[in-house]
């Protein structure tokens, strides 16, 4: 980025605007990292965007592919990237050179809300790299981290050859989404001390109840019961012997710790895993994050920033950002409306036991206790929720009706996509399903010594939707590349439990 530094600093007129907007943002209570704006030409913007915001990332062909796609759609006028903001401290935001001043202001207002979200939402806490010992500030030096990742991959590519490294990285990227969103919040596992020799499990003793009179023995501790308890203990012991002891959803982490990898492979895999965890919160909070940013750009622009001559241009731009298309959820729109809905409810006191218990529709309609807690509430929500809990807690029946939300699905018989339902329960459960685990299937490692042959067994917790089979096979292959032994995944295909297996040469599929 040093290469851009001189050319990309904000021109004066934008710097003045930035100071003004920053003040407004602070005044309304937004709490953000220092934010640095840079202006990029469209091809620089396409480059930075292709790298996911980090121009110093590790080399890989898919950035090139993304760049080609972005440049093409820019050239043909299909899409334009207005803004890019990076979760980093200080945060970096890129503006597109040549945009109108109204657009630039809108983007700046939008960016400050994003950075506030990065800093305060709990999901993003996992991207923190610790606290600065002096100032106590949140350390998020991801630009440096990504550059280091780049250096690691480049180093190995130079030593071993780009082909080999790239093939390995491709395999790792196939597993990129197999991480555990809860892991960063779990207490660090204490590494089991390996020094202690594990004693071979003896036949376990079943604790018996105290028997004072001998003839009562068979009644108080009946033989069948003792036997079944014994069996249970044996099973538990066997379970404890299993590795991993509990199903492990952090597949990447598991491989990193246990797969027989060479040093360069381990380092590359660690890079992929670290970046996967870095980007995870953005996927978990897409609706909230965009909703929050849109809420604030809308408030700041209309209340503070725009003058009368700019308001129409602003409204036009804002409307296109919030436009909805059939069959596609616009996270900006859903997010901003839900935040407004929450603010309105808490301003009027439409919450709590009394509200929930009230059955009188007329009373509810004009319910206004003038509590005025809206502003406070939305700030709390932006800190403590992610998309799933946000929808689960605050999506209401009225909201679904007002916003004309519907669920849709593929109708096999008519061979087309159709609207399925408008009822609150259906919409909500469909929405939650598609947001759960950021839209990824839930996969865990269940046994690293499957059939006592050091084969890896994974399990897909099936929740109604099958895996895409051709891809799943490729993923199993990628897994076996890293695990160096046959790999099997148990899932459900067309309602039949099925195992997909790759033994190093061939794929196979069998019913269980």
């Amino acid at each position: 980025m040093a290469q851009f530094a001189l050319k990309t600093a904000l021109p004066n007129y934008l710097r003045d605007e930035q100071r003004r907007i920053e003040e407004f943002a602070q005044d309304v209570g937004l709490d953000f990292f220092p934010t640095i704006f840079e202006v990029l030409s469209y091809d620089q913007m396409n480059e930075v965007a292709a790298y996911g915001g980090f121009p110093t990332r590790y080399p890989h062909w898919r950035w090139g592919m993304e760049y080609e796609r972005l440049s093409k759609s820019h050239e043909y006028g299909l899409s334009k990237i207005y803004e890019l903001v990076i979760n980093n401290n200080p945060s970096i935001a890129y503006l597109l050179e040549g945009n109108s001043i109204v657009d630039q202001k809108l983007v700046m207002a939008h960016v400050y809300a994003h950075v506030d979200f990065f800093k305060n939402n709990f999901c993003f806490r996992m991207t923190s790299q610790g606290r600065d010992p002096k100032s106590g500030a949140d350390v998020r030096k991801w630009i440096d981290a990504m550059a280091n990742h780049g250096a690691i991959v480049r180093k190995w590519a130079n030593r071993i050859g780009i082909e080999t490294v790239e093939q390995f990285i491709d395999a790792c990227l196939s597993l990129e989404n197999l991480i555990d969103p809860q892991k960063p919040f779990l207490p660090k596992e204490s590494t089991p001390s390996t020094s202690e020799e594990e004693e071979p499990p003896e036949t376990p003793e079943v604790p018996l109840l105290r028997v004072d009179r001998e003839y009562m023995e068979s009644f108080i501790n009946p033989e069948e019961f003792v036997e079944s308890q014994k069996q249970k203990l044996v099973d538990e012991a066997a379970q404890a012997q299993r590795f991993p002891p509990e199903p492990e959803r952090d597949v990447l982490g598991f491989l990193l710790e246990t797969a027989p990898l060479q040093r360069w492979e381990r380092e590359c895999l660690a890079v992929i895993r670290a970046e996967a965890y870095y980007f995870l919160p953005q996927m978990q909070t897409k609706i909230m994050n965009e909703g929050w940013a849109s809420y604030w750009h809308s408030r700041l622009m209309t209340e503070n920033i725009c003058d009368a001559s700019e308001i129409v241009d602003y409204a036009d731009r804002c409307a296109s950002v919030l436009a909805t298309t059939p069959g596609q959820l616009n996270p900006y729109k859903l997010g901003i409306e839900l935040f407004r809905h929450i603010e309105d409810r808490w301003n009027k006191g439409q919450f709590g036991k009394e509200w929930d218990d009230c059955d009188d529709w007329g009373l509810k309609r004009h319910w206004d206790r003038r509590t005025g807690l809206g502003r406070e509430k939305i700030f709390e929500v932006r800190s403590l929720y992610n998309d799933v809990t946000f929808i689960d807690e605050y999506l209401t029946e009225d909201f679904v009706a007002d916003q004309k939300l519907y669920s849709f699905g593929y109708n096999q018989r008519n061979d087309r996509w159709e609207i399925e339902s408008r009822t609150f329960q259906d919409v909500k459960s469909q929405l939650l399903t598609s947001l759960t685990n950021a839209g990824n299937p839930i996969i865990s490692v269940v046994d690293a010594n499957h059939q006592n042959r050091t084969e890896l067994l994974l399990e897909h917790r099936h929740q109604g939707a099958d895996l895409r089979l051709d891809w799943a096979k490729e993923v199993v292959k990628a897994l076996s590349r890293i695990w160096s032994r046959p790999v099997e995944i148990h899932t459900i295909v067309d309602e039949k439990p099925t195992a997909l297996r790759y033994d190093g040469n061939d794929h196979s599929q069998r019913s269980l």
Partner: protein, 370 residues
């Protein structure tokens, strides 16, 4: 400024090239590329290079959206995973089919590499050169018609500023003789385009649409390869049934006639064209003839052999005969040719049974490097 992305981009392009090489056979037999875009560029649709992941199947999962409509109504747009307007540093790519643009030159390279086609030896006819004038700079003398207005005034302005006679408030510039600048040129010698392809096709009733499509695809690739080998190649088109006539490219591929087949008529016309327009001492000549191998009579076949031996073969680099399999034709002609020209390397025959055979046939035609 060279961008860092250029490395990744060219890496991606190489992978795509590899893809194209793997799938070349498919692309060739599909004939998808024939819609040329722009002058020398074709765009090849390739499947988005996806990194496979564990994901849900396409049509298993529905979703939620906003808008009007009743349950049971179809969605007007099909749902697509996309990144909205790309406001955030997301990593989800939109679901666009990827098209790669290649120049025809690049395509010919890939074709050549993949089919191991040798470069063609020119028949040593480079002697003919064309002279061309190109403007390359300016000089102080020259005819008035070549005066370089801007440069003249610029040097006048420079002189006046240097002398201090230029007044910005009264900007008058008067060039003197020394200020005059004239365009200068250089005469360059270029080897003249000296190859011609003569395509002949049987359009009698037995040649169906599928047969013509095969001819169309095959001649596109032959064209591409030979264009790579010779600069500014010329092409001529002849169609024939019982009589032959010269047509333009478009007609060549579209015409559907009926009636009998007299191949000799086409060969005679080709021989006439060669004699009239392309003296064989100066031109590389490539006649290609496609037919279903059903000739009118044995006598006519003998006449063909005669024309080939006396007129066409001596003039041509190679003469290529491609026989397209058709349900109606007897397919006798290729056997006759093989019989009369066994061991003659100048005449190449190839049987094209279906689209998949096109690649092999191109290799047979062009694999000798003549």
């Amino acid at each position: 400024m060279s961008l860092r992305i250029d490395q990744d981009h060219s890496r991606f392009r190489n992978i795509v090239r590899g893809r194209i090489r793997q799938n070349l056979r498919k692309y060739i037999s599909n004939g998808e590329l024939l819609g040329r875009q722009g002058k020398d560029i074709v765009s090849i649709p390739i499947p988005h290079i996806d990194i496979p992941k564990l994901r849900f199947g396409d049509k298993q999962q529905g979703g939620v959206a906003q808008g009007d409509g009743d349950p049971g109504d179809p969605l007007s747009g099909s749902p697509q995973e996309g990144d909205g307007d790309g406001k955030q540093a997301g990593d989800q790519a939109g679901d666009h089919p990827l098209e790669v643009e290649l120049t025809l030159d690049e395509l010919a390279d890939i074709l050549g590499e993949e089919l191991a086609l040798p470069n063609i030896e020119n028949k040593g006819k480079n002697a003919i050169v064309d002279k061309k004038d190109r403007y390359i700079g300016v000089r102080n003398v020259g005819p008035n018609s070549l005066r370089h207005f801007k440069r003249t005034f610029r040097s006048a302005l420079r002189r006046q500023i240097a002398l201090g006679t230029y007044d910005p408030k009264h900007p008058v510039i008067i060039p003197t003789r020394e200020d005059m600048r004239y365009k200068s040129w250089k005469t360059e010698e270029e080897p003249v385009a000296n190859a011609v392809i003569i395509y002949m096709m049987d359009v009698s009733g037995s040649m169906g649409d599928e047969q013509k499509e095969i001819v169309r695809i095959e001649s596109f690739w032959i064209d591409t390869w030979l264009r790579k080998q010779y600069k500014g190649i010329e092409t001529r088109f002849i169609i024939h049934d019982a009589a032959a006539r010269e047509v333009d490219r478009d007609t060549f591929f579209r015409t559907r006639e009926s009636g009998g087949t007299m191949i000799s008529s086409a060969y005679r016309l080709a021989a006439d064209i060669v004699e009239r327009d392309y003296p064989s001492s100066e031109w590389n000549i490539y006649p290609f003839h496609f037919s279903d191998g059903d000739n009118w009579s044995v006598d006519d076949t003998l006449l063909c052999v005669d024309i080939l031996k006396k007129l066409l073969l001596p003039a041509s680099n190679v003469f290529c005969y491609g026989q397209v399999d058709s349900p109606y034709g007897s397919g006798q002609f290729i056997k006759d040719l093989k019989e009369h020209f066994s061991g003659d390397e100048q005449l190449i025959t190839s049987e094209i049974n279906d689209r998949d055979a096109i690649v092999e046939s191109i290799r047979e035609f062009l694999g000798k490097g003549k």
